[in-house]
């Protein structure tokens, strides 16, 4: 299917299916740096987004925008690549595991941050040639396989998806909107300025031009947002302040903008950033290996969604528990059996999805998934499960 440039991303339905009353929704989750294994926290965010995408798709024209290309320019990715080339030389990345690459990332995080000029050749390579370091290329390929095993829609992990705006155009547009403060002429940084709304000034680019992830997000979302009725930003609760800013900026362009914080998954009571390591027994790969590959893939797909969405919920109070994950697989098996042979059919399926939207267009994954487990539940259609969960 052909998409107009300003809507580059993954659409659930061809634009031809759009009618006047069919709203347009852009889902833009925070991306994961391809430098480490996926952890349960990452998985939760990905499953949450996937269910929202697939459950909203029958009701609206949904674009799922997830571009690793956009965020390669952040200091943590470029810095990692520079570190690898400087300290490791030519490693057989294509045969390394994501855990082995993650170990190198932990080393990089302990190292002194490289100066901005050391990152410049890498930034130019990404901008001009869409280059990806073989270490991250490897990680993205391994993730693509995990996505496949879990039945996650692949929004283009290994595809070159550059942002619609260059850095200078983005800054210019932000300044014109009244929400940018560019002090580079005097040797200062660039700020996102939503002080009009009582939100503190936030630096998005250093004086020597190194952008942070917010600057990258703006290059991508400023040109996309005006074309949508609704924009949904899914993010870690720790990033709430930044996403509040993003919500203000994108809202100024017209669409209704919703923030959906998805709580992380503590391991043994602790929420840890993947940059510090300590994830070895709890990576997506390890989790998938523990679930086994010989069972019914439908049970596995529904089971992990029941656990990571309905089980853990939107907060982050509960630690990861393998026993509860396995119980969810048992429940999934029973649900699939009950749904076998039942079909809701188009209108009823749409009605069922619509009930879990709340005051917005997108479907709330938590409400929908929890409803599958409700005792009072009347009919369970296999078409609902296959549309959203399998």
């Amino acid at each position: 299917m052909t998409l107009p440039d300003h809507r580059a991303g993954h659409r659930a339905d061809p634009p031809a299916g759009r009618t006047a009353e069919r709203p347009t929704v852009l889902l833009a989750p925070v991306t994961v740096t391809p430098a480490k294994p996926l952890t349960p926290s990452h998985l939760k965010g990905l499953l949450w987004t996937d269910v929202m995408f697939r459950a909203t798709a029958p009701l609206a024209d949904v674009t799922y925008r997830y571009s690793p290309t956009t965020y390669h320019l952040t200091e943590q990715t470029l810095g990692f690549w520079e570190f690898l080339d400087r300290t490791q030389g030519d490693l057989p990345y294509a045969s390394l595991s994501e855990e082995e690459i993650g170990d190198l990332y932990v080393l990089f995080r302990k190292d002194t941050p490289p100066p901005a000029e050391a990152l410049r050749p890498y930034a130019h390579e990404v901008e001009r040639n869409g280059w990806v370091h073989p270490a991250s290329e490897r990680v993205l390929r391994l993730w693509t396989a995990h996505y496949g095993a879990l039945g996650l829609h692949d929004p283009g992990l290994t595809r070159h998806q550059p942002p619609g705006l260059g850095t200078e155009e983005m800054v210019e547009r932000l300044v014109t909107l009244g929400m940018g403060l560019d002090q580079r002429a005097g040797g200062g940084p660039v700020y996102l300025d939503a002080t009009r709304y009582g939100l503190p000034l936030r630096q998005i680019m250093t004086a020597d031009g190194q952008p942070n992830y917010l600057a990258c997000a703006l290059r991508e979302l400023l040109p996309l947002a005006p074309a949508y009725d609704e924009v949904v930003l899914l993010h870690d609760p720790e990033l709430a302040a930044d996403y509040l800013l993003l919500q203000r900026v994108l809202g100024a362009l017209g669409p209704r903008v919703h923030r959906v914080p998805v709580g992380r998954v503590p391991i043994d009571g602790r929420i840890r950033s993947a940059r510090h390591g300590g994830w070895h027994d709890h990576t997506a790969g390890a989790l998938l290996r523990a679930l086994g590959t010989d069972g019914d893939p439908d049970v596995r797909r529904l089971g992990v969604r029941l656990y990571f969405i309905a089980g853990l919920g939107p907060g982050q109070a509960q630690s990861f528990r393998a026993d509860l994950l396995h119980k969810s697989l048992d429940r999934a098996e029973r649900l699939l059996r009950r749904a076998d042979g039942h079909r809701l059919g188009g209108p009823q399926l749409h009605e069922e999805l619509r009930r879990h939207r709340g005051a917005h267009t997108h479907v709330d994954p938590y409400r929908l998934t929890s409803s599958l487990l409700a005792r009072s539940r009347r009919a369970l259609g296999h078409d609902l499960l296959s549309t959203v969960y399998l």
């Binding site: 009244g178 403060l181 002090q183 002429a185 005097g186 040797g187 200062g188 940084p189 700020y191 300025d193 939503a194 002080t195 009009r196 009582g198 939100l199 503190p200 000034l201 630096q203 004086a207």
Partner: protein
Amino acid sequence: MTLSPELLLTVATERLRAARPDLPAAGLSGPRSLLAVKDEIRSAAGAAPAGQVSAVAVVQEADLPSWTRETCAFVLSLTPEQTDAWRRSFTRTLYLAGRPDNLRERFAFTHVAPDATAAWAAPAPDAATTGLRRLLRTYSGRRPLTAWHPTTVEVPGTGARAGTSAGRRPVHRDLYLATAQLTVADALVHLGHLLAESVIDGTIGPGDRLTLRSVPRLTALPAPYAALRVDTDQHHPDRLRAYAALTQEN
């Protein structure tokens, strides 16, 4: 005229005396003792901040000529009570990065540049500007200053203090800034003090014209000075340096 180390020390001492006549009258023996006195004043202010005031300058764009003109307009708009307290606090000013047009609904600035690239809040105890300071960040202009073509600005002609210099015809002065090892942010600080104190003591008045000139270092001046900005040399704490100078009328 030559700006000798002895002259710089005299100027620095005079400034201390003018601001704080209540301090012991003992003369400064050298740059080190200037540092010591500054530390003493700072720690005394920390222990008992009563009476300490700071102005706040919100900087969107640091264009030196227009910034010079608007700084003068700001100081001219202050009342004698405000300038007295400010003088005693050595015209202390906090420089914050911000867009005045985004802040005007929340904060009543004392003066906003006509093009809204800068705004000022009158000298007040720090608590009065807590909200503004939480919202903004310290102005960071780390670009080294480079030479510019001399530019003349005219000090706006009205203001609460216009009466004090009433009767004096407008004059024309040169305003020198020593650019070597100076960043844009440093320039705002040094020019800010020189302009504020010159407006307060009437050396700069409404309608005056100032020609802003760059020079690598101020070791000598082609004309006698009317005001000098002298401070500890950032790069040599045991020396004083002349950072800016205002000449007598041309």
